[in-house]
């Protein structure tokens, strides 16, 4: 897939979504609740990850309006999840959808890294071509 300003904007959308998740998790860390928007966003991310790893699903997640379902976004997500492979990130993120309060240090670290990777992809696109 050729890099285009469209794919660049998808990296930026991914970074933005990560920052929103980080903000929600920091509020949660200070005792606040996790809101519906956070849960919807997290479900979308987990769904995309699940579908991208399902061996019976050759097409991965279908592209939607979520910032986790386009090709560039899914690839970046998978890269970072692989980097965290010893930390069972998908499982820890799934646990956040349940009732008991959890420690969110690792999920925050994960979203920080994902945001960082997405910003790198976004900015390397800016420098490498006229878009």
């Amino acid at each position: 897939m050729h890099p285009t300003s469209e794919s660049q904007s998808r990296y930026l959308s991914l970074a933005i979504a990560c920052r929103q998740l980080i903000s929600s998790l920091r509020c949660y860390q200070e005792g606040g609740p996790l809101d519906r928007k956070f849960k919807e966003s997290l479900e979308s991310l987990l769904g995309a990850l699940r579908e991208s790893r399902d061996e019976n699903n050759l097409f991965g997640p279908m592209p939607t309006d979520s910032p986790f379902t386009r090709y560039e976004q899914v690839m970046t997500l998978k890269e970072v999840v692989d980097d965290f492979k010893d930390k069972q990130i998908p499982e820890k993120l799934s646990e956040l959808l349940g009732a008991p309060r959890r420690d969110v240090k690792e999920p925050i670290e994960f979203f920080y890294t994902l945001e960082n990777r997405a910003l790198h992809h976004y900015n390397s696109g800016l420098l490498s071509r006229d878009s």
Partner: protein, 465 residues
């Protein structure tokens, strides 16, 4: 100290971006939407600068563990401002003197006939690209919202869309019909059509690739994204045909110079040329495939019966595209050729859902065919005499009628394609076969049509864009 330096650097960048937003006096004048956008960016800039002034103190209060988490906000802000920066200058360059103002107002009014979009306004930006169809400025909103969520002020107005037109085409009436495709991108995003189409896309892919065992997951993901991108473009095309009618198809044929695919008779395709127009790319469906879908939509709306008999190579091209065999389409993208027929089959299966999505997004707005049918002949008579068709009398004794912008646009475009020589023949020392004379009178027809549209808006007290 380091962070103070970094915050100051970004402060300087934001300040320089915002300096272009400080408008004084009444000149230049902007569309209301452009003014709102420019004012909003200024507001965002002020809030960002206030945030940056306090940022070093904020980060000093964080723990060592949280330092990088907070520091990265600066990078995200800079990246977001960079994205905004790309759209700001084109918006400030597009003052009303450099826009086809009546046409934009008329098209936005037409768009607002859709129930869901009654309050929508469009920021019009200038682009250096001549191809309108590659401009999708809608991501600006997400970027601005992100900045707002970090630095504080209100979010970007949800009713503000963005469209790009080539900076050199401010006087053009006909070609600027292409902005209705950009309306389609706005509608696609606002109505979350990608999400709505996702189950249909999956069904189409699964059915078309049933029995295929050689596909790798990475290629499969690329294919689903490819078909989704084509689907969005086709949605926008069909949306534009619903909004503007055949004028959109004519404009698209013109800007792509698709008549190049015709042979010397003008009645058949020239095989080597048409083969290129039958190729899909990594971002867009094949030109001919798009034309086929345009014709299907024109047929559905009743437009095709009106225009099918016109004596113009544009309509002949549409008729030829309609009959072009499915086996002639190609997907010459590296790695994809092996699955060409599966991919095209999936797109074909998806077309029904795309048409349904267009109908759901547009709802029940008039096609405009009825008025066009009633008035086109009369408008021709006015235009061939060089009379602005603002108020027309169809038959002696009848009260004057004021053709809608949609009718004027389509009638004037078809006149330009089929009757221009009659106009020129009636003028002393002008030759219909001379390129310079044709260009001159084509321009006049556009001016008269633009005036008729402007008059209609004035009489109907239309605020528009």
């Amino acid at each position: 100290m380091d962070v103070r330096h970094d915050a100051a650097s970004l402060y300087r960048f934001v300040d320089s971006v915002c300096s272009g937003c400080e408008l004084t006096g009444n000149y230049p004048a902007y569309l209301e939407a452009n003014k709102k956008f420019i004012d909003y960016v200024l507001e965002l800039g002020i809030a960002t600068k206030a945030y940056l002034r306090s940022f070093p103190d904020k980060i000093e209060r964080t723990t060592a563990i949280d330092y990088n988490l907070t520091r990265q906000e600066l990078w995200l802000l800079r990246s977001s401002w960079e994205a905004l920066h790309r759209r700001l200058k084109p918006a400030t360059a597009a003052d009303t003197l450099h826009l086809p103002f009546p046409l934009i107002r008329a098209l936005v009014n037409r768009f607002r006939e859709i129930d869901h979009f009654k309050a929508t306004q469009f920021v019009v930006i200038h682009t250096e690209l001549l191809n309108y169809l590659q401009v999708n400025a809608g991501h600006v909103r997400g970027t601005a919202d992100n900045i707002a969520s970090i630095v504080g002020p209100r979010k970007f107005d949800r009713n503000l869309g963005m469209i790009g037109i080539p900076y050199s085409q401010s006087e053009s009436l006909f070609l600027n019909c292409l902005i209705s495709h950009e309306f389609g991108h706005y509608a696609f995003s606002e109505r979350e059509v990608a999400t709505a189409l996702a189950p249909d896309l999956r069904s189409a892919l699964n059915a078309s690739f049933a029995g295929v065992t050689s596909l790798t997951p990475n290629l499969g993901a690329l294919i689903s994204n490819l078909v989704a991108e084509w689907a969005e473009e086709l949605f926008c095309d069909l949306f534009a045909v619903r909004i503007v009618g055949p004028a959109f198809c004519y404009a698209w044929i013109e800007i792509q110079d698709l008549p190049n695919a015709l042979d010397h008779s003008g009645r058949s395709f020239h095989p080597p040329a048409v083969a290129e127009d039958a190729k899909f790319t990594s971002t867009h469906p094949a030109n001919l495939y798009r034309l086929q879908q345009h014709v299907a939509s024109l047929e559905e709306l009743g437009w095709w019966d009106e225009i099918a008999g016109y004596s113009t190579h544009y309509v002949r091209l549409l008729a030829l595209a309609k009959a072009f065999p499915r086996s002639g389409f190609k997907v010459p993208i590296v790695g994809f050729q092996r699955y060409e027929s599966n991919i095209l089959d999936a797109l074909s299966k998806l077309m029904l859902a795309i048409r349904r999505a267009v109908n759901n997004s547009v709802g029940h707005i008039e096609s405009g065919v009825e008025e066009y049918h009633a008035l086109r002949g009369t408008l021709d008579k006015y235009l061939v005499r060089g009379i602005v068709p603002s108020s027309v009398i169809v038959a002696k004794g009848q009260v004057p009628r004021h053709p809608s912008p949609l009718t004027v646009l389509n009638a004037a475009y078809s006149f330009y394609l089929t009757e221009l020589h009659h106009l020129i023949e009636g003028i002393e020392d002008q030759r219909p076969l001379w390129v310079t004379h044709r260009e001159k009178w084509a321009r006049k027809v556009e001016t008269w049509a633009m005036k008729a549209i402007d008059d209609y808006l004035l009489v109907n007290n239309s605020k528009g864009a």
